[in-house]
Symmetry: C2
Subunit: 219 residues, 2 copies
Amino acid sequence: MPAPTTPTPPLRDALLLAAEEEVDEHGVGAVSLRAIARRVGVSHQAPGHHFGDRNGLFTALAAKGFRTLERRMLAARRRIPGDATPAERVATLGVGYMVFAKQHPALFAVMFRPELLDGDDPDLAAARASAFGVLLDEIVAARATGWGRHHSETALALTCWSTVHGAVTLWREGTLDTFFPGIGGAQAVARMVTETLNTGLAAEAGEPPPAPRPSRRRG
Amino acid sequence: MPAPTTPTPPLRDALLLAAEEEVDEHGVGAVSLRAIARRVGVSHQAPGHHFGDRNGLFTALAAKGFRTLERRMLAARRRIPGDATPAERVATLGVGYMVFAKQHPALFAVMFRPELLDGDDPDLAAARASAFGVLLDEIVAARATGWGRHHSETALALTCWSTVHGAVTLWREGTLDTFFPGIGGAQAVARMVTETLNTGLAAEAGEPPPAPRPSRRRG
DNA sequence: CGCTCCGCTTGACAGTGTCAAGCTAGCCGG
DNA sequence: CCGGCTAGCTTGACACTGTCAAGCGGAGCG
């Protein structure tokens, strides 16, 4: 951990930013450390100096991504109205998850690519755990109110997370647009899956689907 | 286009197989065309000759993956007992999806990486559409029996697919084991999410969760 | 025979990641 | 003021990469 007296050298941040831009422009597979260095205007080995090697850079970028994701979800949570149901609260975080992926495609692209990352990096692990903690805590809290009590905490968390993550992944790849043309943007997709997930697939016709509140928030 | 009289030259298949092995051993980011050629024992440009460039090879590999996935799901479907519920039928395909990802990690790793693929390749598009058609058809058929009738066909298909795909993705990356230690293998994860998804998160306590049949098929 | 493909090789080139060494400015104890 | 230490960055070199261009042998066919 860098001591607070060393507020991370500015070049390091500049390199991370340049890396993000490069990934955005050329895709994660096509970025080179040298191109990043060129973009910043430093020597070809400057990234190597700060991050050790390629994986070191991507690891730092992923950690930055998880921290950004956490802030995103915390902000979304702060804006939840007080009378929201537990299901709505969890769904809001899910939408925040997707919005993050849309707004920071480069970060998201790196965060879930283990072969690009140094799996043992404690900073990355901490950032990841902290970010997912926000999501998992909300799910646990919702379950404590009775929501989803038929399922184990694990099953609940796993399913919510998988659904949102899967939707994000498929949407990002363009697969969704191929199979469901005009399905809409990230938010629309997120809302659709969270609603369907909440109701459940096997729900009987006798009971009307739990009417989503008159939309307080607009898409 | 190779006429059916040219049943794909053997070297081409050998290269694809070698590529799969290389990806399995070193990860998709670390494979080089030259290493693949070396493994087969041909010149460094042989892959280039058959596939044009790097993306061409990965595109062919992904297409092979989708065809294998389709066979996998068809085989799973064939083994569904006649008295299975629609939900069970869909869940079985989902499990097949995950089992495929477990048995062919290299293929799966390539299939959903657009930056590695030639998005315009008709062969890839056909293989992908055909594979997902199996899954989507089953969902549509299930809905026709009343299952999930509260949701649009799109919402239903999107949610099922996202959940399974997300679970596979997270599981493959090792993220699941980190957050839910001892959660089990691919099949266990797949069954857990499909069951939870089917019941729905908001299900009320009054109605017991639809008891899964006494397990007829073993893990 | 001569021609023309097809499958594959050979050679070359710019660009890459990484190792090793060098440079420079700032600091610190004396 | 000095000498040495360190952090931050550069320079140089190397093996390796993907891809372009040309070459080469054999099969099919007129």
